[in-house]
């Protein structure tokens, strides 16, 4: 019952053999449409002054919604970056609470990470990867402590970008995951860009998934704009992790269709032609067309999904707009579980000076 190093079997992971049912695909389409609408709207919110900034995810709907679909949100745990709005929605996170980070209400968001099993927005590139490994190792330890077999483990899923793959922490995380065989899915959204730097100037060798082999981790590269492929890849990865066989690298090739953030100007580093050429088919149109072609969906149903999305966006916008700033006293309240005399004094002085100013 010791936790020692046995490198996992290496190699390419096969997609989950199970194809998705039409109703599953329709549910995914609904989610993708909802987050597309919310995402596009959030850019408008920024222009309207409702939120000071936002990091759009347009183009990555299939990758995000599809990867969450492979998880069991009652026991798995998700570690997002700052661009996982679609994942947050699919995971069931309250969207007004989630948006609080972009509203500058609270860094990381106001959602409860324990309740939603979805950690706060991470602004430090690659900062969470080792957390996902540590948390997953904790699941192994829990099973050991409770005398359970290591064959049905809760898994962690860590999102990272092509840019993030350059950080030392990613390497340390993959190596730790390999040595401790933690149930961790490294889910790379290779969206072609890290702000202005294209993947080919970022990822030597050209693929993050290919690095898995160096750590004894099986990996799978997948078309990140094909939601069914994403779900099947992520399911295979999660199944592998759950089984106690260790971590997996999934690389979803997709495209950041929008700017890096609302303060970015992509025109400075890529042309509209580049975008048209490189973006590939729109993941939403593609899925809708496929379902329509298979007679599983009608045009009017699609219109309904967009209408639902618009209604959801409106509710969310109202909640976000109504969100007032948090009381300043919370600055002092949440630094520690057990506060300190120094902090109490500073809080008292702050209160006094704010009252008298």
């Amino acid at each position: 019952m010791s936790v020692t190093a046995t490198p996992a079997a290496t190699g390419a992971l096969e997609l989950d053999p199970q194809r998705l049912q039409a109703d599953e695909l329709k549910r995914l389409l609904a989610q993708m449409i909802t987050v597309r609408h919310l995402d596009t709207s959030a850019i408008a919110w920024q222009r309207q002054g409702i939120i000071p900034g936002y990091a759009p995810m347009q183009g990555q709907e299939a990758a995000q919604v599809g990867s969450i679909a492979a998880l069991d949100m009652t026991r798995d745990f998700v570690f997002p970056t700052y661009r996982e709005m679609g994942a947050a929605y699919a995971a069931g996170v309250d969207m007004a609470e989630y948006m609080a980070t972009h509203k500058a209400t609270w860094n990381g968001g106001l959602h409860d990470p324990v309740k939603y099993r979805f950690t706060p927005i991470q602004t430090v590139i690659a900062g969470s990867a080792l957390h996902a490994v540590g948390w997953a190792h904790g699941q192994r330890l829990d099973a050991l402590r409770e005398g359970r077999e290591q064959t049905d483990l809760p898994a962690s899923l860590i999102y990272l970008g092509d840019g993030a793959s350059s950080q030392g922490d990613i390497h340390e995380a993959m190596n730790f995951a390999g040595v401790f065989k933690t149930p961790t899915v490294f889910f790379v959204q290779n969206n072609g860009w890290a702000i202005s730097v294209p993947t080919e100037h970022q990822v030597a060798g050209g693929s993050v998934a290919a690095r898995g082999a160096g750590y004894g981790l099986p990996s799978v590269a997948v078309d990140g704009n094909d939601v069914e492929a994403v779900v099947r890849a992520a399911r295979a990865a999660v199944a592998h992790a759950r089984s106690g066989a260790g971590a997996v690298v999934v690389e979803a090739f997709t495209y950041r269709r929008g700017p890096h953030s609302t303060s970015d100007d992509p025109g400075r580093y890529r042309s509209l032609e580049d975008e048209r050429r490189d973006a590939g088919p729109d993941p939403i149109e593609r899925l809708a067309e496929r379902l329509i072609a298979a007679d599983e969906l009608t045009e009017s149903e699609v219109r309904e999904l967009w209408a639902d999305a618009a209604a959801f966006e409106e509710r969310t916008r109202e909640a976000v707009a109504a969100q007032g700033p948090r009381p300043g006293a919370e600055m002092f309240e949440y630094v520690y579980q057990e506060t300190t005399p120094v902090l109490q004094q500073q809080a008292a002085q702050w209160r006094e000076e704010s009252d008298h100013a």
Binding site: V124, I125, S166, S196, V197, P325, V335
Partner: protein, 342 residues
């Protein structure tokens, strides 16, 4: 100038006087540094085609080529570690860390390598590296985009640290730093990037030590970076109440100009130091203690510190609760003026 014979560049460095915003002044300093020293290099995340997220390196890659102004992969330890090797190869790297808070992954390279290589090699491998870093808060940025890191660097033997407070200083201090044979951390007050000012290219003035940004005889306000202009505003407000505040722009945070501090406070006999970083173990403690050491006999009140609180820099909507605002600085001034020996 020996550099003239080395340079293959055609343009000349700037002369005359120009009205420039701080970001443009820094851009000009980088261009002139690259112009003057063909071994100067600019590297970092998005500094090339994009010209930096704050456009500080705008146009430099076009002008000096992708071999002298280049994007790196997204890894701060990588950027600084690579700079060490480039310095060993005879170059003068001017790396950019995209935001203050993303310097943390590079702390190991900065503290254990850059700061110590000259010492370790007994001067054989100097580290002429000018590390630029958009710094401090004030623009309601996301988490870890508003850090004040002077407390960290000012302690590290082997580093020098400077923060300009206006375009003229920014231009000349950066030009100066880019010719220094030692590593310099150049902390740019990002909230002032769009502040304009007159840059006299021919007359740098004294680039060492602190400068008196405003004279006054009742009390010295010590500040650096973005807090200098806030302190100047406060001095205006205090003047309305008949309090003549001297504002000392510290500029160099390592080494600190103890004599400049002493000279000012010897006259005013009272001091308040202002910074954005949390109070405990912040650089304000060092400044206050230096003043106390030099002016103990004449000081009328303990030096007051008006600083950020001992909390993580909060989200944008709480930024103004956290940062020393005019009211808090005025309260601090009042405490010092009203102090009676207990």
């Amino acid at each position: 100038m020996p550099e003239a014979t080395m340079t293959a560049n055609t343009g000349a460095v700037r002369t005359g006087t120009q009205e420039l915003s701080l970001n443009k002044a820094i851009n000009a300093a980088l261009a002139d540094a690259l112009e003057e020293n063909p071994r100067a290099l600019v590297l970092g995340e998005d500094v090339g085609r994009l010209g930096g997220v704050f456009r500080i390196t705008d146009g430099l890659q076009e002008r000096f080529g992708a071999e002298r102004v280049f994007d790196t992969p997204l890894a701060e330890s990588g950027i600084l570690g690579m700079s060490v090797g480039l310095a060993m190869a005879g170059y003068h790297p001017i790396p950019e860390v995209q935001f203050d808070g993303f310097t943390y992954p590079a702390v190991n390279q900065i503290v254990t390598q850059i700061a110590r290589m000259n010492f370790r090699t007994r001067g054989a491998l100097p580290m002429p590296i000018t590390l630029r870093m958009p710094s401090f808060g004030g623009i309601q940025s996301p988490e870890l985009h508003s850090e004040s890191l002077e407390w960290l660097f000012a302690h590290v033997a082997g580093l020098k640290v400077v923060s300009p407070s206006n375009p003229h200083q920014a231009y000349h201090l950066l030009r100066h730093a880019a010719t220094m044979p030692d590593p310099v951390v150049f902390m740019e007050p990002k909230s002032r990037y769009w502040q304009k000012g007159s840059v006299d290219f021919d007359t740098p003035g004294d680039l060492t030590g602190s400068v008196v940004a405003r004279e006054g005889r009742h009390l010295t306000l010590v500040a650096w970076g973005a807090m200098v202009s806030r302190c100047l505003q406060v001095a205006d407000m205090a003047a309305e109440d008949g309090v003549e505040v001297e504002v000392l722009d510290l500029r160099w945070l390592k080494p600190i100009d103890a004599e400049g501090l002493a000279r000012s406070v010897a006259r005013t006999r009272r001091a308040v130091v202002v910074h954005e970083a949390p109070k405990s173990a912040g650089l304000g403690a060092e400044v206050a203690q230096l003043i106390t050491e030099h002016c103990f006999g004449t000081l009328k009140a303990p030096v007051e510190r008006v600083t950020g609180f001992d909390v993580p820099f909060p989200s944008g909507s709480l930024e103004n609760e956290y940062l020393p605002n005019a009211d808090r600085i005025l309260f601090g001034i009042q405490r010092v003026l009203e102090y009676r020996r207990g």
